[in-house]
C-alpha cells in the first residue's frame, strides 16, 4: 500500500509540475498531421514510419536534452534514418522495432503479480518504386507473444511466436487514391496504440486481429475514407478466420479536428460481429490533442446461439508538457447490455522520448467493475513500457 501511495504522490506531483509548464506544442494532429499517411507508409497508421515521420519524430516529438546545444536540428533529422544514418537508397527502407512491458497487476495489493512481456520484436522492409513512390511493399516479421486469451488453450498451437503481423503491396496512382492488398489492420475506429483499450478489444481490432484483404484509401484535405474487404488471417485455421468488411470516414472540421464514423462486419464459424463507432480527434492549440470514440458492438455466437450487445467509449487527452514529454489521461467505459454490468478504467500516463528512437512510458490504470450480480474490488495496474526502434 505504501508503494502505491508513494507512487501516486510522485506521479501527481510530476504531472502537476509538467502541466504547469505545458508549452503546448503539438503532437501529431496538433501539429496539423491529421492524416496518418503523412508519416506512415500505411495510410491508416501503424507499422513503419516513413522518412518524414522519422524526421518529425526526431526533431519535434523527441527531446533534444541529450544532444549538444550546438547540434543542428537538420542533423538530428538526418540521423533519424535506419541505424542513425540518412537513407542512401531511394527504394529500400529497413527498420526494426522492439516493445517491452513491465506489468504489475493488482499493484500495491498482496496479490500483486509482476511480469515482463516482450510485446514486439520485429524487422521490417519497405520497398518503393515509381514516380512519387506509387508502388510500395511492406513486410514485417519477428517475435510476438501468443495472445493471452489463447495461452494454455488448444488454440495456442495455431499461433506461432515468430510471425508476420503486416505485409502488403500498395499502389497510389495519385496522392488522393491508394489501393493495398495483403495482411493489414482493419479500417475501423481510431487506432490507438493501447491495444488493450476497450475501443480495440470490444470490436476485435487489436494487435493480433489483422486480416488478409484489400483496402482502398481516399484522401482529400476535407475528408478521408477507407474501405477494407478481408478474408481473415490466412495463417489461421479456416474456421477461425474472420471474414467481412470494414470502413471508416473522417471529415475535417476547422483544420485540426476530425469527425469520424466507422462500421465493421465480420464473422467466422463461431462468431458474427457487427460494430459501429463514431469518433473525434481534435488538435488543440499548440499541439496537444484529445480523442474520443464511442461504439456499439453486436456479437452473435453460432455454436450455442446467443446474442449480446456491448458498448464502449474511450476518451484520452495527450498534453505536450515539454518537447519529448507528454502527459496522457484516459477514461474508458465498457458495458455489457445483457447483464447490465459495466466497467470503467481510467488513469494517467507519462510518455517520454528522451532521444530519437527511444520511447519510455508509464501508465497507471484503475479498473472498476459495476455489476448487479457480483462485487469486485477495484484493481490498479502499473505498466512501464520501453519502445526502441532503428
Amino acid at each position: 500500500m505504501f508503494n502505491k501511495a508513494l507512487f501516486l504522490s510522485i506521479i501527481s506531483v510530476f504531472s502537476l509540475f509538467l502541466t504547469k509548464n505545458a508549452y503546448a506544442y503539438p503532437n501529431f494532429i496538433g501539429h496539423g498531421y491529421n492524416s496518418c499517411i503523412t508519416c506512415h507508409y500505411n495510410p491508416f497508421g501503424n507499422g513503419p514510419i516513413n522518412d518524414y515521420g522519422r524526421a518529425v519524430s526526431a526533431t519535434a516529438i523527441s527531446s533534444r536534452g541529450f544532444y549538444n546545444d550546438s547540434k543542428p536540428e537538420d542533423l538530428i533529422g538526418k540521423e533519424s534514418g535506419f541505424f542513425f544514418k540518412e537513407a542512401t537508397s531511394k527504394h529500400f527502407r529497413p527498420s526494426a522495432s522492439y516493445r517491452g512491458l513491465l506489468l504489475k497487476r493488482n499493484f500495491g495489493e498482496e496479490s500483486e503479480k509482476t511480469e515482463y512481456i516482450h510485446m514486439q520484436a520485429d524487422v521490417n522492409l519497405v520497398t518503393k518504386f515509381g514516380q512519387n513512390d506509387k508502388f510500395i511493399t511492406s513486410v514485417s516479421f519477428g517475435y510476438a507473444p501468443v495472445p493471452r486469451s489463447l495461452q494454455n488453450t488448444p488454440g495456442a498451437d495455431s499461433v506461432k511466436e515468430y510471425r508476420t503481423r503486416e505485409h502488403y503491396i500498395g499502389y497510389r496512382p495519385s496522392p488522393e487514391w491508394g489501393f493495398y492488398a495483403g495482411l493489414m489492420d482493419k479500417t475501423y475506429g481510431i487506432r490507438v496504440v493501447e491495444h488493450t483499450s476497450y475501443a480495440r478489444t470490444t470490436p476485435q481490432v487489436t494487435m493480433d486481429d489483422q486480416a488478409h484483404g484489400v483496402t482502398m484509401h481516399f484522401n482529400k484535405p476535407q475528408f478521408e475514407a477507407g474501405v477494407n474487404v478481408f478474408v481473415g488471417n490466412l495463417t489461421q485455421d479456416e474456421s477461425l478466420r474472420m471474414k467481412g468488411a470494414a470502413g471508416t470516414f473522417e471529415y475535417t472540421l476547422f483544420e485540426k479536428n476530425r469527425l469520424g464514423l466507422s462500421a465493421l462486419n465480420q464473422s467466422n464459424d463461431y462468431l458474427k460481429l457487427t460494430a459501429y463507432a463514431a469518433h473525434i480527434r481534435s488538435g488543440l492549440d499548440n499541439g496537444s490533442s484529445i480523442i474520443f470514440e464511442v461504439g456499439k458492438v453486436d456479437k452473435e455466437t453460432k455454436m450455442i446461439v446467443s446474442e449480446k450487445t456491448e458498448y464502449y467509449a474511450n476518451f484520452q487527452n495527450h498534453i505536450k508538457a515539454t518537447r519529448g514529454t507528454y502527459i496522457l489521461n484516459s477514461v474508458e467505459y465498457y458495458k455489457n447490455a445483457i447483464d447490465k454490468s459495466y466497467r470503467v478504467r481510467f488513469g494517467p500516463s507519462i510518455q517520454y522520448f528522451p532521444i530519437s528512437k527511444v520511447e519510455l512510458r508509464v501508465d497507471l490504470y484503475n479498473t472498476r467493475n459495476f455489476s448487479q450480480v457480483v462485487s469486485v474490488k477495484d484493481r490498479w495496474d502499473l505498466m512501464a513500457q520501453i519502445h526502441l526502434w532503428l
Binding site: Y25, P26, H31, G32, Y33, N34, S35, I37, T38, N50, D51, Y52, R54, A55, V56, T59, A60, E73, D74, I76, G77, N132, D133, R172, P175, E176, N219, P221, E224, E255, N286, G287
Partner: protein
Amino acid sequence: MKGLIALGTGLMMMSSLVCAHEVVVKVSLSPAGSFEAKSAKVKGDVKKTGNSFTAENLWVKTEELKTGITLRDEHFHKHLNFEKFPKIAFTQVSAADGKGSGTLVINDIKKVVPFTYKASGANKVEATFKVKPSDFKLKEAKYMEIGVEDEVEVVALIDV
C-alpha cells in the same frame, strides 16, 4: 537545407495605434496534412475613416513566424529567403465594405492581392486572402518526400 515544409506569406493590416496584429499562415502538405505559421508581431499603422481602412505598410519579420517545430521554422524561414529579405510586407492597403486589396511583398517580389474582411469583436477585423507561393518565385518546398501545396491561406487579426 531543403525547404522543409514550408511556405507561406503573409500578413495584414489596420489600426491607428502601433499595436501588434496577428497573422496565421495556413499551409497544406502533400499528400496530406497541414501546419500553421503564426505571429502576433505584425507591425504597422491602420487608419480608419468611416467604414474604410487604409494602411501604408504592414510588416512582419519572417523569423517571427513560428510553426511549432524548430526544424520546420528553420526550413520555413529559409524557404522565404529570410536572410536576404528578412521582412514580409503588405503595402498600399485599402479596404471598405468587406473587401480590399494591397501589395504583398515576399522575396522582393510584389503582387497585388485582394482580400475580404469582417468584424471580429469591437476593435478588430479578420482579413483573409490566398496566395500562390510560386507567384513570389519561391521554389517548390519539399522535405523527405513531403511537399507543400502551391496555395496558402492567410488570416490576419487586425486591431483597428
